[in-house]
């Protein structure tokens, strides 16, 4: 297992997550993207701001047994 393999491992998963795809890896689990829409928040000073959207990566371990 080389560094190039680990780097490629990260890049492939990142790209697929960006493309809203789910990646399944045997004996490990599944990666998928979760999107949070932009939303309004009211600050303590009374001003209301529109927060930008956000994407996160979520991992679900493979069920063993």
């Amino acid at each position: 297992m080389t560094k190039d393999f680990l780097k490629a491992f990260g890049i492939v998963i990142r790209d697929q997550v960006i493309m809203k795809n789910t990646i399944e890896i045997e004996n490990l689990g599944t990666f998928k993207s979760v999107h949070y829409n932009q939303k309004q928040e009211k600050r303590a000073d009374g001003t209301t701001v529109m927060k930008p959207p956000r994407d996160t990566i979520e991992f679900k371990a493979e069920q063993k047994g």
Binding site: K20, T47, K51, P53
Partner: protein
């Protein structure tokens, strides 16, 4: 899209350039190391990717900051946008319930007392009283009607009855009384009394004593002449001072008490003796004079009363056939307290029948105190007027509050704010180039004074990031400046757009732009410079004048675009 293990190996082989066999080998080694680390309670970290850690049997993945940033690269440069005041107002207006105050008032008025309860009770009481009055009036009228023929005999009222009725209606009876009670009282009445004394009833009543009475009358005439000489002056002085009614009233009270009271017993012996002496001897005048002298020696008021007592003496000097009757009646009347004194007078004149007629007298008694009760009748009218005014004012205020009637100070200003704050969305009508694409913003498209083409040409912007137009088509003249669909209008780049994709490869972004343009959207391709990732290409649709309009339009987008989008100003 789901990438299974085999597909992942292929992608990994393409990206790393490592042979597939080695890729499979490496991936197995990697998964084993991660699982072993989790079993050992340790975390396994891949540089630039993240950390695998375990809590119990669960495996957690914590992405690194680099990966988080790269995943959100399309949102680079996005910062929280402070909404404008109008936008805030618009968002707050629907939450503001203009009727909350009214609802609070209604709850207070409901929980509070019923304002009409007292009125209703009063009205019920008044109505009952009125009913009673009406009944009493009805009965009173009926009673008066029914007793019209007997009004001369029946006298209304207790106190006023004794004076007025005795004065007005019972003159004959009074004359009879005066004649019965004493001829000395007044000579002019003595003639009338003599006439009435000749009535058969009186004859029957007095019976054998008529002769004695005649004698006493003659004596009384003589003694009356003497009285005239001596006491007429006193009486003359007394008469104008005391009205005849009062005199009669005095007669009523005191005569009755004297006639039927305890004094009778005390005076009987002396009276009988004196009467016998006066009747048998010629010295009647002397006795009378002695009595008169004694009377004169007393006060002027007492003189008259004593004179009346002297009359009583004369009355009781007779073998009064009324004593038994009067005693019976007095026993009955004593039970009825002071009012019973008055009917006794009529009993003397009318005899036994009057005792039977005492019961109807009580009915007219009730009439006079009740008639003044008619005066407070305006009270319920006042209440009704006040109630009507309250209802009218309340209804007008309510109508004003609900903006049915514009009443300054009462009509809530919120309603006007709503109309001001919520202008129709300024989205131009859709120009659907591709007829297959359903119009998304047909409902919210209201043409709002589209600027002329000359003005559009004059607008020259120098944006930091200028969207790249993918088409060489000219903007139609009848197209609105802002909108979701149509041809991209460069003069509308001062507005907002809905970003759907952010791609690092320009070719892919351009392909997405073409696809969206074919769907009829105003597709924009905007390059965004990033120090970390180089140039990113954002693909967005629509041109909107404000953030609110863009948000409204985003609700009607295709469902595949709703999963991940954000609204951004076209030119940063």
């Amino acid at each position: 899209m789901h990438i299974d293990h085999n597909q992942f190996l292929e992608l990994l082989t393409e990206t790393s350039g490592i042979e597939p066999e080695n890729v499979e080998k490496y991936i197995v080694e990697l998964t084993n190391e991660i699982n072993q680390a989790i079993k050992d309670g340790e975390a396994y970290e891949i540089d630039g990717f993240g950390i695998f850690s375990g809590i119990g049997n669960r495996i957690l993945f914590i992405p690194s900051k680099e990966l988080e940033t790269e995943i959100n690269f399309k949102y680079v440069g996005m910062e929280p946008i402070v909404l404008e005041e109008e936008q805030i107002k618009k968002e707050e207006v629907p939450e503001d319930n203009p009727f909350s105050d009214l609802q609070e008032l209604e709850s207070e008025t409901e929980s509070s007392r019923d304002p009409f309860a007292g009125l209703v009770e009063d009205f019920e009481d008044d109505s009952l009283e009125e009913d009673d009055r009406e009944e009493s009036l009805i009965f009173g009228v009926e009673s008066t009607k029914s007793f019209d023929g007997e009004e001369e005999e029946f006298k209304p009222g207790p106190e006023e009855w004794g004076i007025e009725a005795h004065k007005e209606d019972d003159k004959g009876a009074n004359k009879l009384l005066s004649s019965l009670m004493g001829e000395e009282f007044s000579e002019p009445d003595s003639e009338v009394s003599d006439e009435k004394m000749d009535e058969p009833e009186d004859d029957d009543i007095f019976g054998e004593d008529d002769e004695g009475t005649e004698k006493s009358e003659n004596d009384s005439e003589e003694s009356g002449s003497d009285l005239d000489d001596e006491s007429s002056g006193l009486i003359a002085e007394e008469a104008p001072q005391i009205p005849a009614t009062e005199m009669e009233a005095v007669l009523i009270d005191e005569d009755l008490t004297d006639v039927f009271g305890e004094e009778d017993e005390l005076d009987e012996e002396f009276d009988l003796d004196s009467f016998q002496e006066s009747e048998s001897d010629d010295s009647e005048d002397e006795t009378v004079n002695e009595v008169l002298n004694e009377l004169i020696s007393e006060d002027e008021e007492r003189v008259f009363e004593d004179k009346v007592e002297a009359e009583d003496i004369d009355l009781e000097d007779f073998d009064d056939p009324f004593l038994d009757l009067e005693e019976d009646i007095s026993n009955e009347t004593e039970e009825d307290e002071t009012e019973d004194i008055v009917p006794v007078i009529t009993n003397i004149s009318s005899g036994i029948e009057s005792t039977k007629k005492e019961k109807p007298k009580t009915k007219p008694k009730e009439e006079k105190p009740e008639t003044p009760k008619k005066e407070p009748q305006p009270a319920p009218v006042w209440l009704w007027i006040v109630l009507a005014l309250v209802l009218v004012t309340g209804s007008t205020v309510g109508l004003g509050y609900f903006s049915i009637i514009n009443i300054p100070g009462i009509t809530p200003q919120v309603a006007t704010n709503i109309t001001v704050v919520t202008p129709p969305p300024v989205i131009p009508p859709v120009q659907v180039e591709n007829t297959e694409q359903p119009p998304v913003e047909q409902e919210s498209t209201n043409p709002v004074t589209p600027p002329p083409a000359q003005e559009q040409e004059e607008v020259t912007e120098v944006p930091v990031t200028v969207p790249v137009s993918n088409t060489s088509r000219e903007v139609p003249v009848d197209q609105n400046k802002y909108g979701m669909n149509g041809v991209v209008n460069e003069s509308a780049n001062d507005g907002y757009t809905i970003v759907l994709y952010s791609l690092s490869i320009e070719a892919n972004a351009f392909a997405k732009q073409q696809e969206l343009t074919a769907d009829g959207y105003r597709a924009l391709l905007t390059p965004v410079a990033s120090e970390r990732y180089g140039t990113l290409w954002r693909v967005s649709i629509g041109q909107f004048a404000s953030l609110t309009e863009a948000a409204i339009a985003s609700e009607s987008m295709d469902s595949k675009f709703k999963q991940s989008y954000f609204i951004k100003k076209i030119t940063n």
